[in-house]
Structure formats: C-alpha cells, structure tokens
Subunit: 346 residues, 2 copies
DNA sequence: GCTACCGTGCCAAACGATTGGCAGACTGTC
DNA sequence: GACAGTCTGCCAATCGTTTGGCACGGTAGC
C-alpha cells in the first residue's frame, strides 16, 4: 500500500481511506483515482492485517454435519451469497456430527476471529460447542434448534401435520412412520407433528408403527424393512425426509408393494430427483434459500448487538403420484418455482 | 498473549514459541506448562496476526461450480480433512460457473492471502481466473483440467472405455450417448473414451446418437427424450453421469422402454441412490476421497516450491441390474467399500 | 480585514503474534 | 578454578492496515 501511496503521491492513510470509499475524509475524485490505480496495479489490501487492526474479520463460520447432504449444501450456498451481499465471507466446516471435529471447527473459527457462527449441526444433547459458547462469539442455530438460543428453523410440526392431513384426507388409516435420528430436533418434530395431527383426527399411531433410523436412503430402507418384517402392512407411509422415503420405497418393493399403487408415500424436503423417480414422490417443500437469508440477517443483528427474535419458516405440501395416482399425467416441468434441490453431479 | 505471559512469568516471545511447540528454544516442561495454562485460560492465538507476520495463512481456497453437487461436496470434504491433517484450513466458494462470481471468489481468496487455491470449476474456455494467475499464487486444477497446469483428474477416457467395453461385451450394438456440457473436460473425455472404444471394436456411433446437455437429471431427461423423438431406439445407453442416467431412465420409461429389461443403461460416479433405484444403476466408480488427498498433496508441493507431476486416477466399473439383469438377486449391502456418495438429507 | 469554519490530507500509534540477535546461567572438562 | 560449550529466555523490530488527532489552506460571514 505504501508503494501505491508513493505512486499516487499521497499518504498511505489517504490511500487506505480512499480504498474504503471514505467520502467524509477523501474527495470523490481522489477516491476514484486511487481505486483505479489500485485496480491497474493489481493491488489487493491484506484482509488479515485489516482484521487485526479493526477487530472485525467480516467472516462468518458455519458448522454442518455433512456437506454432502444437498439440504445443507444448499443452505450454505444461500448463507454464503447472503453474507457476500453484506460484505461478509462465509466459511463452512463439515463436522460429521463428531464432537472432536466440532471442537476443532470451533477452534479454527475462533482463532480466525470470525464475527459470528452458524451452528447447523446441533443435536438435542449437543447444542453449540462449549468452546464457542465460552468465547462469547455471537452465533445462531440454523435448521435444527437446540436450547433456547436464537435460531432459524422450519416449522416441522406443521410440516408433519401437512403430511398427515394429506394422507388422512385421502382415506388412509393404517399409517407407518419412517423416522430419523432420535436426537435431532427436525426429525423428532416432523414425526411428532404427524402423530399429533393423526391423533386429533382420531387415528392413533402405535409405537410399533414407527421406527427411528439414520437420515439416509439406507436408514429408510432398513426402517421400512423392519416394519414390514414385524408384520406392518400400512396403506400409507410418512418418511421424515426424501432419501428415507426412497429407501422405504425400495423396501416396500422388495415385499411386493408398489408405491403409488399399493402404498401411499410422502417424504420431506423436495429434493430434485423426487420428481424424476419412476413414481414421483410427494413431499413437503422447504425454502432453504430463504432460510439462508434469514440466518444471515439474524446473525448480523446479533453481531450488531441486538437481541433478535428467532424465525420459523412455513413448509408447503407438494403432492405427486407416490401418494396420489390421479396426479399421474402432470407434466414434469410444471412448476419448479425455485432452483431445484441438488439434481446435478459432475 | 501478553496477559498469558504475565500469568506464566515469562516473556511473550517465550510463550509464543511454547505454544508453537518450538522444542529447540523452549524446554519441554515449559512448553507443557504454557500450553496447559493457555487451555485453562481459554486463550486462542489470533491467526490473522500470525498470518500477517509469518507471510503464511495456512489457508487453502477451493472454487467449485456448485456445492449442491454431491461429487463436489465430497471432494471438498476430502480436501478439507486432508488439509487439516497438514495444519491447513480449507475454504470453499461456489461460483455457479459464473465469471463474475469466480472473480470475486479469487479476489476474496487473494485478499485473505490464502497459500494456495484449488480450481475445480474450470471449463475448456475458462481455466483459472486471470486474477489468480496474475497473482502468482500457487494453484492446482482438480477434477476438471484446463490448459497444462498441474492437475488431479480421473482418467475419464478410461472410464468411458470401461463402460463401452462392458456394453459391447454384452452384445449391444445400437448405442446412444447422453453427454454433458460441451465445454467441460470430464464430460467430453468420458464421451470420447466411450466412442473411441466402440470404434476400436468396429461399432461406429453416429453423431445423431449422441446429445450434449446439462449435468443434471433434467439434462439427461431432455437429451434422451430428444434422441427418442429423433427416432433412436438404442439397446444400450451410456450417460456421462448418474443423474443424467436417472433422467434418461425416466425418458425411456415415458417411451415405454424399461431400463434393465428393454434397454441397458450405465452412468458415472456411483452416487449412493444408484444402488437403491428400482433398477439399480450400473456405473463407473471414482474415488473422490483419494482425489481430495492427492489434490492437497499436489498443492502443498507447489506451495513448497516444487514442480510436481499431475495425477490421473483410475476409475472402476460397477455392474448392476440396469445393464445386466442377471445381477438381480445381489444383496443390497454387498460391497460398499467406501463411504457412500451423498445418500443423506436432513 | 478578521474570525470561524470546513474540507483535505499527513503523522504516528495501534492491532497481536513472530523471530533474529543477544545475554545470562548452567554443565562439564582439563 | 577457568573456560568452552550449551541451553534457556528476553528485547525489540516487524508484518500491513486503520484511524484519531492535527495542521494547513481556502472560503464565507460580518
């Protein structure tokens, strides 16, 4: 920067202000001239030095359990672009739900002096890493909640309810639930919302008609297999996410039950392939882009010293053939209001 | 740190060395004592200050076109863990293949003074962002190659060849190819490898039997639809990635052709759902974890001033029902040597 | 014509860690 | 007991920006 100052015939301090666009202390033409010169010389101010001096890094850290998960990847992308709009850089770490990795992630973030952290890998037992809490760095919980910390989540009770009301309305009374991990708030609330809505309609779901399992195709496959082997013969199944639903469909198929024909099936999240499966999958759609924006807004409020309210987003039911055969003829590209959720691979 | 030094009755310089574990200048017991004290006091050295003074940030930046893509997400995870093992932090940005976003990504990385960059979003026209090249920061190309820069890629010619030989061996002669984007090296090479191998076996693939399209379910769906509508009736189809294959399967189905029974189908990448589809999908497996490790090794070599050789990884054929009905009875969990590629959602 | 004020830009002290140079203490040897 | 050699730890300069304080020149008001 000193070199740039010499070139411009100015003091470094003036150059610094000019680069930041400080119109109160530097004239507009000077600002223009300096910025042009900097671009021409390929000069990029050292953000680390700036962080040091300003005690603000303009970096936000995000912890997710698994970046390979389209929902989380999408959420991070949304967070990242929202952060950029506010002049922040977003950085992500995949913790694989491992306490040790969460610790090192927190460690990394804190030693880089991030201005705020987004915790998207909370479980009911482990909300935010101790280190993070102790540091006093502002943070918000995203997607999953944990404790009574500021958070941005989906109203998963409502999501479960939507699925239930849809299936009940179609006349189904023999229902099974393919659940997620026991200690994750989202999974639990989707299940609870479903069961509660059924209860209100006078349909009790026996605990033998529900299974907990991992958040993946295989988890859904195994859970459904167990239910079937235990003698369950549901007319409709609610899986707490789409991959679970895909796994469940496979298990049903192996038992001679065809989804859409013999059994109604509903998932959660509206991932892109859902629409392309041989029997397109009904689901509950969540707007993860909106969530990302809300998360950043909430976090930056917190960083600014405010004490903002938590946010709860409303999900939306999407009915396709897997739970309603009459939908059959619907054209594939009917309505894709949002960017589809993860339909690509290299 | 000054405070910590006072607490320990030492000079800050000694504390600094102790925290870094400099055994040449600080005695083992002192190191131990200082580190324990730091932990107890919750002290984390400021990485920005350290970056400033040592002209090394121990951060690596990675640019990908889309984090929502399981392959890229997985690759980043692998890079990240490999980087951590070497004391580096990996940071990722999704550029959506947009030149402007690539530029700001490069800008961010450079102003943060990353020690090296991984470019995984190259196209044949746009290799690395100009800004990056001009800065002289070491970088490697990953997954895709561009120009003759150091890179870590899969031998996609070989991958295409594996698929071709498999289908030819099964007696197929009417072949179609569902291709990817024209300007992406991986897509082009998979296609070329396939076509070349067919040529060597005396089976010519007419250009009317090939389509280029986007790297997604929808891309595959559209390409296959176009081929069918143009009168193609292949007995086997090679799609350059698994999602393309899934989309193609859907299009075939709409034309009354069932994959596995009427048409053989092969994809690429071995994503997790492949195994769970109603007709499990044959594919070409790539070890992205290994790739991540190789990328980091190559980049760190470059950072150290060496001029390392590029790396090419060998893919592996995985045959399932979609191209070989006899595989039918195979148990689902037979062989999953690696962590499955992206089967989870929240 | 004098004062008050404003716009502009320079000086220098931070931010927090790292590291070469050097001084002091200690050990062992002759 | 002196001296060389080794080990340990302190001093102070440095990385590149930012920013409060201050000085200077010009302008407007009375």
């Amino acid at each position: 920067m000193a070199q740039l100052a010499r070139l411009a015939g100015l003091d470094v301090s003036t150059v610094s202000r000019a680069l930041r666009g400080d119109t109160l202390r530097v004239s507009a033409p000077t600002i223009e001239r300096v910025q042009r010169l900097a671009r021409r010389e390929g000069f990029l101010p050292d953000a680390n030095a700036a962080s040091l001096r300003r005690r603000r890094s303009y970096v936000l850290g995000m912890m997710v359990p698994d970046l390979t998960d389209v929902v989380l990847a999408r959420l991070f992308e949304a967070v990242s672009t929202a952060a950029n709009l506010d002049g922040y850089l977003a950085v992500v770490t995949s913790t694989r739900a491992d306490p040790a990795r969460r610790r090192t992630a927190a460690h990394d973030f804190l030693s880089r002096r991030v201005d705020g952290v987004i915790v998207a890998d909370a479980t009911l037992r482990h909300a935010a890493p101790e280190l993070l809490v102790a540091s006093g760095t502002p943070f918000v919980m995203a997607l999953r909640s944990g404790g009574r910390h500021p958070s941005v989540v989906v109203d998963d009770l409502a999501g479960g309810r939507l699925a239930a009301e849809h299936l009940l309305h179609a006349g189904h009374r023999d229902l099974c639930v393919v659940g997620g991990p026991r200690n994750v708030s989202t999974a639990e609330r989707r299940m609870r919302g479903f069961v509660q809505a059924c209860g209100r309609a006078g349909v009790e779901i026996a605990s033998s008609a529900m299974r907990h399992g991992a958040f993946g195709v295989d988890g859904g496959y195994r859970s459904m297999l167990e239910l079937l082997e235990a003698g369950q013969r549901p007319s409709a199944v609610f899986a707490v996410n789409d991959y679970n639903a895909i796994g469940a469909a496979r298990a049903l198929q192996e038992h001679g039950l065809i989804v859409g024909r013999d059994v109604a099936l509903t998932g959660y999240n509206d991932i892109a392939i859902g629409r392309y499966l041989e029997t397109p999958l009904s689901t509950v759609r969540v707007d993860h882009d909106l969530m990302g924006r809300e998360v950043v807004e909430l976090l930056l409020r917190l960083v600014a010293g405010e004490i903002p309210e938590s946010v709860q987003l409303q999900p939306e039911l999407v009915v396709r053939e897997s739970s309603d055969l009459r939908r059959g003829g619907e054209p594939l590209r009917s309505a894709a209001p949002q960017r589809p959720l993860g339909e690509e691979t290299q």
